[in-house]
Amino acid sequence: MRNVYIVSASMIKVDRYFNKSYKELVLDALTKILDEGSVEHIDYTVVSTLLSDSILHQLDLSTVLTQHLGLNPIPSLRVETGESSGLTAIELGYSLIASGKADSVLVVGVEKLTEYPTNIINENYSKILDYEIETIRNISPPDYAALIMKEYMKRYRIKREELTIWPIKMHDNASRNPYAQLRFRVDRDKVLNSITIAEPIKLLDAFPVGDGSAIILLGSERTLRRSNSECMKVTYITSSTSQPIYLRDDILEFTALRKTFKTLQEGSRLDLEEALLEIHDSYSIYAYLILEELGIAPRGKAPNTVDKLNNVNLSGGLKARGHPFGATGIYQVAEAYSILSDRGLGELKYNGKYGLIHSMSGPDYNSRLCLIEKVM
């Protein structure tokens, strides 16, 4: 297999763009990456979006987007694997280059959610679960997060207020990320007094609804040689799926992540303590479970370790940077790439070699991990 590199990355601030269409959001991100001058040639475009069918009324969005941006005749396709679609697009772009099918792939993430009120967004977002079994019974992703949070508090005798540490930390981190949607700090009372989404989950435990577009340019060795930007290697990218919640032996275990992480560890030499981590904290309870599944904290102890973690979600995470579904995975990679780079992301910099990005859909229905590495 050929080596794959991140040649360039760009993103726009996650926000509510009432006066822009999804095409304009992509154009804004694309203009930034083109202005950098690191894009010479594109062989393939992979587009990630979750709700374009239902919210934007657009099928074959990748072709329409290619036409609109004047990228034709470059071939394009769209991927969708629920909330982890963005990282899946990178996985696919990676495969296209590793296999020799392409030398450079533009991976575009876009989601435009502010076209409709949140009840419509939630109704459609809930379709990431099994429609015939779960969604039709009115189960939505935050309901599962609430069940899991209740079980976590019960099993480990953790008080509700102790679980506010994650959103507090994420909002603090996001205040330094110029691309984050929620750039304000919160305290314990603010989290606890925010409205209830699904008992015991509060508004400030959950990701905000927002629009966004992020782009990564992946390239082969050949592209790397021609580029004058700082490139990073995509060392490993892998994924797994799991059982639905109602068939799990233990709802506090994320087996897809476990399997993915095991595969990644076998295929790479990674010291997690030194790596910059971006994890999928759509609801704060998931952050604790992910930290435990990755072995960063013992079972039931993740809330106690959050304070000391200085290498996780410097972006603010889904919680505060935002979660424009299909674009999220690409934001995570773009942020890790920028923070690890010599230039940094605003004032955000991390002195390390590796970046590990985790993305999942629902409560770990599928989990993906991407390891990137600085090329010295």
């Binding site: 509510r16 502010t114 949140t118 007094n193 925010s194 409205i195």
Partner: protein, 356 residues
């Protein structure tokens, strides 16, 4: 482009009156009914809302407020040459409410009369029209009424606030007025943040879209235009009254414009009576007029979805205290209340459909 309504002849407020139904339903009761969390009522700052009784509507409430406005102004109603009713909840889809109210108040048929529809700001448009008619000499007095029995889809977040109430103003020559208009600006765009399609019993809204690009953008734009045209700044005003869909928004928009809370709170009524739509900012203004001292300057900014805002600068004159005493005050209506259950509210607002 003329941005400012520059007054060649002095025009002002001769009289005013309000009406708020006696019944209140607590916001937490509505929240409980539909499974909203209580924090939502606190975050919007809505405690209770006024509920019109089965035999009250936009016309009856508007009539009462207008009657008080005429009495307070001490004028002969037959000298009113124009009557505008700003409402989005007329009892008749086709047939003016203005004629019903006018005939109940006066004998003269020599007047223009019409209903104006622009969501919650139609009353503001009525005031602008009235200023023009009085300033041009086409009429001595004009009567503007903002009255609504606001509809909300049961279980929608709007139901926590949509309420009933009315305000009326007699606009006339400055020499008879106790508060004069210094100037006015208007700002209107096509912004579909809230609407009710023909035949639909309840309005729909774009949720957060009703905030940033609608309420906040229009109010801030109209107010800033007024500051610029009149060469004024927030510190030149003693009071600021904004359209108040809930308790939180007017404080927030005031902060954006640079007004301290103390200048906004006197005109806040929504937390205790709900959003009376066309009555909202006009009841707030009435409350401020009833406590303001001569020489005070008041900023009033309306907002109506769809969307638009009028900004007015009003200066209070001598003699206001005496005129306040001539009729029931806003504070009297705020104190006059009896609570009803969700069921009684649903019956009175005809949310329960009964076939006869």
């Amino acid at each position: 482009m003329v941005t400012l309504f520059e007054l060649r002849e002095g025009v002002g407020i001769v009289g005013w009156g309000v009406y708020i139904p006696i019944w209140r339903v607590r916001a937490v009761e509505i929240a409980k009914m539909w499974g909203f969390s209580e924090e939502l009522t606190r975050s919007l700052w809505i405690e209770e809302k006024a509920v019109a009784s089965e035999d009250e509507d936009t016309v009856t409430m508007g009539w009462y407020a207008a009657k008080v406005a005429i009495e307070r102004g001490g004028i002969d109603p037959n000298h009113i040459g124009a009557i505008f009713v700003g409402t989005e909840s007329k009892p008749y889809a086709v047939k003016p409410s203005a004629t019903i109210i006018a005939d109940a108040l006066m004998d003269s048929n020599i007047k223009s009369a019409s209903d104006i529809e622009f969501a919650c700001r139609a009353g503001g448009e009525g005031i602008r029209n009235s200023i023009a008619l009085v300033a041009s000499g086409m009429t001595k007095y004009a009567l503007v009424i903002g009255s609504d029995t606001a509809q909300a889809n049961p279980g929608d977040v709007l139901e926590l606030t949509a309420s009933s109430g009315a305000a009326a103003y007699v606009i006339g020559p400055a020499q008879e007025s106790v508060a004069v208009f210094e100037g006015s600006t208007v700002y209107v765009t096509d912004t579909p943040d809230f609407w009710r399609r023909d035949g639909s019993p309840y309005p729909q809204h774009g949720e957060i879209f009703t905030g940033e690009p609608a309420y906040f953008h229009h109010i801030v734009s109209a107010a800033k235009l007024l500051f610029k045209e009149l060469g004024l700044k927030p510190s030149d005003f003693d009071y600021a009254v904004f359209h108040q869909p809930n308790g939180k928004f007017p404080l927030q928009v005031g902060r954006m414009l640079g007004f301290p809370k103390e200048k906004i709170l006197p005109g806040i009524v929504t937390p205790w009576i709900g959003n009376t739509y066309n009555g909202s900012s006009l009841i707030g203004l009435a409350k401020v007029l009833e406590e303001a001292k001569p020489g005070s300057r008041i900023l009033v900014v309306t907002f109506g979805s769809g969307a638009g805002s009028d900004a007015f600068s009003i200066i209070v004159k001598e003699g206001i205290e005496e005129r306040v005493k001539r009729g029931p005050k806003v504070i009297d209506f705020l104190k006059r209340k009896k609570y009803v259950s969700y069921g009684e509210y649903a019956k009175n607002r005809r949310i329960i459909t009964r076939i006869r």
